[in-house]
Amino acid sequence: METAPRPGRNVPPKKDKLQAKRKKPRRYWEEETAPTSAGASPGPPLKKKRNGEVRLQKPKNTRSSKKSRISKKPQVPKKPRERKKPEPQRSLSGAQDPFPGPAPVPVEVARKFCRIDKSIKLPRSKSKTRSKLEVAEAEEEETSVKAARSELLLAEEPGFLEGEDGEDTAKIRQADIVEAVDIASAAKHFDLNLRQFGPYRLNYSRTGRHLALGGRRGHVAALDWVTKKLMCEINVMEAVQDIRFLHSEVLLAVAQNRWLHIYDNQGIELHCVRRCDRVTRLEFLPYHFLLATASETGFLTYLDVSVGKIVAALNARAGRLSVMAQNPYNAVIHLGHSNGTVSLWSPAVKEPLAKILCHRGGVRAIAVDSTGTYMATSGLDHQLKIFDLRGTFQPLSARTLPQGAGHLAFSQRGLLAAGMGDVINIWAGQGKASSPSLEQAYLTHRLSGHVHGLQFCPFEDVLGVGHSGGITSMLVPGAAEPNFDALESNPYRSQKQRQEWEVKALLEKVPAELICLDPRALAEVDVISLEQEKKERIERLGYDPEAKVPFQPKPKQKGRSSTASLVKRKRKVMDKEHRDQVRQSIEQQQQQQQQKQKQEKAKPKGSRPSALDRFVR
């Protein structure tokens, strides 16, 4: 589902942050870095070996003025404030308002929130319709301006990692980062040595506050990973395939050897869903309250956790299902198969919505980014590919890895992490909405064991990796969205708030059948049934009530209403209509020609046509 950041609605957590900001604790390293950055003197007395600049999103309070070398992200050029009225109003006190009127909003920012597709040309409309359309457009503009203005409240900025000239950020190790960042951030990097219970799967709750981990050999634990407070720890005495939080951190779904079990945050088993057996992967769709399970038997089962019913059990007909990912944009489930295809599923349709041939060998891992634009897949052919999901499903970039990636994960801001053996590679794109470029790795990290689970923590610059040696929490600057919607998922919420949110979320539950490839299509008129109804109506009435009435000339006096003149008048109108049609078609043709000419003109400028062009396919 689309989410527009709505800051400043829920105050308390923000306040916490703000308070934290206000304190501005001096970091032990701040003074040290300051001279180096300011003077750029050679041979600084540093504990740090690296000069790479590290910024995590959380320590916003670090003053950038001190770190002059830290290049800030280019800010959106805001329009110079225009004074709408040349003579400022005088208030009662006699003081002048230096910035009268509403604050101006940059057009680019406002455009981000516009949803009306103005590229579609509407058919000619009546004045009444036109006025309605104008009202709709005005409303859109107003709301978009308001949203853009409230962007001011998104105070947090994403962190980043930037190397010195010619320095590869991938060579910066976790230890360096941990050294560079503040204590709070540094505390987010930790390793759990759990060698006893085999490779671990892990899952962060939606708020990013809680972490659940399930070891292959039955170890299940849930903890508040920020405070490191353990909520529960049990051994289910069974192989654990996958683990996942449900809508809140209270409920926990564990795919065990035979069946799917649901535990609460105290480790009490609430349910044993026997209809979901031999589950290999779990995926939770938060807005639909659906738990999607992929099983060894080849079934994709949707379980509605709000009512405890199985919504749909779809047979993928592709053997064992062990690769699954969800598209957070449209809640479509992506399944990877051994024949190199990725199939897209919705509980409302028995067949896959789409099938994409991605790899020559089987698909090993899939990940979809938070905007639903890109899908990363890796296959047995050692390839890592990024596909465009917006209709075309074509690969945008691909690269071969020495050993194919077994696990993939997208962060909120579009960073791609791939686990290959015991190595983690992270790629970053240019901006938030761009696909990660696979040429240069952003970060790499070596683990103590083979990767078994990967997930970026929401709202934290942290990547959680489950491996055969336990759990590793990596720091990845710039991975997560710095600003959170407190009504949506509030990491700092209290129990009461959580309960309230639960009720609201349940009330706003989206029906499962609305899952489709293009969720915006739901805001369109169902043209097929519209036409059908129209046809039926015409059949019932025996005529088309909306058909254009043929022109009937008015009767005239004094013998001017002779048959001949009537016919003549009719003829006139008909001819006029015909002429209009012809004119329109001619104009269209001309436009097309012009476009063609433009294209032709645009083409040859780049390169001279060569004789070999004819062989180009």
């Binding site: 589902m1 527009a4 709505r6 949803r115 009306i116 579609i120 509407l122 058919p123 409309s125 309605k132 359309l133 709709a136 457009e137 859109e140 107003e142 709301t143 308001k146 949203a147 060579k171 024949n339 190199g340 919705s346 409302a348 349709v349 067949e351 919505l353 789409a354 099938k355 994409i356 041939l357 790899h359 020559r360 060998g361 390839q383 209709g391 499903f393 074509q394 691909a398 690269r399 071969t400 020495p402 050993q403 053996g421 190595v423 590679n425 040429e439 790795a441 790499t444 070596r446 949506e488 706003e508 029906p511 059948e513 609305l514 739901l522 369109e524 008129v525 169902d526 049934s529 519209l530």
Partner: protein, 716 residues
């Protein structure tokens, strides 16, 4: 003459009528019959007339013999047939002599006529002058009528000689002729009114053909007349040249010229007109001398005798010219070879003939063109059949090429032309011999070409063009062949082209684009060496996960596309209207007739995406949540969609925007009392009055505060 004849006919008819009425009378009543006889006849006639009535009248006794005793009581006018005249009765039996002289004088005066001018014919008849004598003599000699100019005695005799039946027949004939004439006229009028151009075209062609035939016959019979016809054609040509007709300059042509840009028919019509003009203005030329010289010897042998005769007869014009009018060899030779010419029929060229002439010529020209085209086609065909020959000829000079190709073509088509050849050979056996020899191959085509011999400069040019075109055509197929040889999968794979492209695309998709392996994760490989078993497993997997993936996917896609295509409905009933049973299939024609083809659906979304199968099925469950009725002011769904594109919910909007978007149109303040509706609000008066009266009665008891409230409520 006609008028006279008609008059004669009429005369005879009137006589016949008399005859019909009086059948008993001998036709020729001589003048020397006695009076008594006449009287008797007269009586009989009266009798007959009386009997016509049909009533039996009282018949008076008939006096059979003359009796001198005539009693006064027995006097009656009847029987005698003479009317009684009063004067006769009053007259004395014997007339007095005293008045006799006076009477005589009076009678004489009466009888004497006044002299009329001009003199009576009787008087004229008498020849007075010697000239008149002579004339009368002459007239008498030739038995010409002197007094009555209408009928000569001969004619009279002939009239008398005509029997009744003959007369009847003649009359019937005339009647029929008249009826036919009227029919013909009506038909002509009707045909004139027909607007169908095609019909007129056909009629014209038919007429032209007929005229041509007639002209041929005329030429055979009467060459001089034919020459005259030719002159007429020439004259028409001259007229055409002088006039501006058929030059696309008329009103009609101008109107067509406007339309010609868009209308194919109009363009054709204009071109036709121009072509007609060309044909009409085209001079029937003598072939250039050199060629004529070359050909004449051959022609002497080749040309049938009849043509030569014509040439001799029409000593003026050239025989070629004659032939040019009618160069259709087949038609020409038919009457010549069959030897028995059609019976000489007097040929009268009507005035319409003149109009038909040019048409005829046009047709002949058309025929020529057609023949030539056919010939060319045949030659082309031969080229196709013998590509080797055509290749060889490519090297040689163009003239040779042309001739050889033609010869080849004609040799190939010998079988087809057998009949024609036979006709030709019947005229001259020498040719047959020549044909057997390989050397005079040049002549044979000449002979065969004769029907399309060059007659005008223009045609010569055309011929040249033909050669050029043939020259051009020759290398083309070879080029094509070379092309196809060069890339053999070009044409045969045209149908599969797309699929192949898909394959290629897929291959491209699935192969790496950036084979840059150098990066930081080198250590992984070292690490992996620890678990060789796993690596091996993967190796095996990779080995087996082969290219089949692509083929399987393509197959799957094809199946999906096929399954999603709308299917045709076959309504054929086997055994319906024909034999049925095991192993019998309904005929293809029937199947075609009863097959309802499904309409072509919209193009698939994954049409151009080889690596994707997109499900085209509609999500019915989701569609149930969609809007399916357009609200009022909207006429198109796109308009309405635009108004619902901006989300209203608080999830997507800021709080203020959400509030503004969802404000109700009417806002009621909290705590405001809304009174229940009263009858008077609706408009009923009767009940309201009573209420008011009640209020009024209670008014005294109400305090001032309450009054205020009441006022408020009433104003509200």
């Amino acid at each position: 003459m006609k008028a006279i004849r008609a008059a004669e006919g009429l005369l005879t008819l009137s006589q016949q009528d008399e005859l019909v009425d009086l059948p008993n009378y001998p036709l020729s009543a001589s003048e020397d019959e006695g009076d008594s006889d006449g009287e008797r006849k007269h009586e009989k006639l009266l009798e007959a007339i009386n009997s016509l009535d049909g009533k039996n009248r009282y018949k008076l006794a008939e006096r059979s013999e003359a009796s001198l005793k005539v009693s006064e009581f027995n006097v009656s006018s009847e029987g005698s047939g003479e009317k009684l005249i009063l004067a006769d009765l009053l007259e004395p039996v014997k007339t007095s002599s005293s008045l006799a002289t006076v009477k005589k004088q009076l009678n004489r005066v009466k009888s004497k006529k006044t002299l009329e001018l001009p003199l009576n014919k009787e008087e004229v008849e008498r020849a007075r002058t010697p000239l008149e004598h002579e004339i009368f003599n002459l007239l008498h000699k030739n038995k010409q009528p002197v007094t009555d100019p209408l009928l000569t005695p001969m004619e009279k005799a002939s009239l008398k000689a005509m029997s009744l039946e003959e007369a009847k027949m003649r009359r019937a004939e005339l009647q029929r002729a008249r009826a036919l004439q009227s029919y013909y006229e009506a038909r002509a009028r009707r045909e004139k009114k027909i607007k169908s151009k095609k019909y007129h075209k056909i009629v014209k062609k038919g007429k032209a053909k007929k005229a041509l035939k007639e002209f041929e016959q005329l030429r055979n019979i009467n060459p001089t007349a034919a020459l005259e016809e030719l002159e007429k054609i020439e004259k028409a040509r001259m007229m055409e040249r002088m006039s501006l007709k058929h030059q696309n300059s008329g009103k009609w042509a101008k109107s067509k010229a406007i339309m010609a840009k868009y209308d194919l028919e109009a363009r054709q019509a204009m071109q036709e007109q121009l072509a007609k003009n060309k044909e009409l203005t085209q001079k029937l030329q003598v072939v250039s001398e050199s060629e004529e010289e070359g050909n004449t010897e051959e022609e002497e042998t080749l040309v049938p005798d009849v043509v030569n005769e014509v040439q001799m007869d029409a000593n003026g014009p050239n025989p070629w010219m004659l032939r040019s009018c009618n160069p259709d060899a087949k038609e020409e030779e038919k009457p010549m070879d069959s030897e028995h010419l059609p019976e000489p029929v007097a040929h009268q060229f009507s005035e319409s003939e003149e109009d038909e002439r040019p048409v005829a010529e046009e047709e002949t020209l058309l025929k020529e063109f057609e023949e030539r085209r056919a010939l060319r086609k045949r030659s082309e065909f031969s080229q196709d059949a013998e590509p080797m020959g055509s290749r060889e000829t490519q090297d040689s000079s163009s003239q040779e090429v042309l001739s050889e190709v033609r010869a080849l073509a004609q040799r190939l088509n010998k079988g087809n032309l057998q009949s024609r050849k036979q006709r030709v050979t019947s005229t001259g056996t020498v040719l047959q011999v020549q044909r057997e020899e390989p050397a005079p191959e040049e002549e044979e085509p000449l002979l065969l070409q004769r029907p399309e011999r060059v007659q005008t400069l223009e045609k010569l040019e055309k011929l040249g063009k033909e050669e050029c075109s043939q020259k051009k055509e020759l290398p083309r197929p070879i080029l094509q062949r070379e092309w196809t040889e060069r890339n053999p999968n070009n044409q045969p794979d045209a149908s599969k082209g797309k699929k192949k492209e898909q394959m290629i695309n897929l291959q491209n998709l699935l192969t790496t684009k950036t084979p840059s392996v150098k990066s930081l994760e080198v250590p992984t490989i070292e690490e992996l060496e620890d678990e060789e078993a796993k690596v091996q497993k993967q190796m095996i997997k990779e080995a087996f996960a082969g290219d089949d993936v692509i083929r399987d996917f393509l197959k799957e896609k094809r199946e999906a596309v096929e399954a999603n295509k709308p299917k045709d409905v076959d309504l054929t009933l086997p055994g319906w209207g024909e034999w049925g049973g095991l192993g019998l299939k309904p005929s293809a024609k029937k199947r075609r007739r009863f097959l309802i083809k499904a309409p072509e659906g919209p193009p698939r979304k994954d049409k151009n995406l080889p690596n994707v199968i997109i499900n085209e099925k509609r999500n019915i469950h989701a569609a149930a949540h969609q809007v399916r009725v357009l609200p009022y002011p909207f006429t198109h769904h796109q308009q309405f969609e635009r108004t619902i594109q901006t989300p209203i919910g608080s999830t997507w909007n800021t709080q203020r925007a959400f509030q503004k978007l969802t404000t109700p149109k009417v806002v009621t303040k909290p705590g405001h009392i809304i009174k229940p509706i009263k009858a008077e609000d609706v408009g009923y008066r009767s009940s309201s009055r009573s209420d008011i009266s009640v209020i009024q009665s209670n008014q005294k008891r109400l305090s001032g505060h309450h009054k205020k409230q009441l006022k408020k409520s009433s104003t509200d």
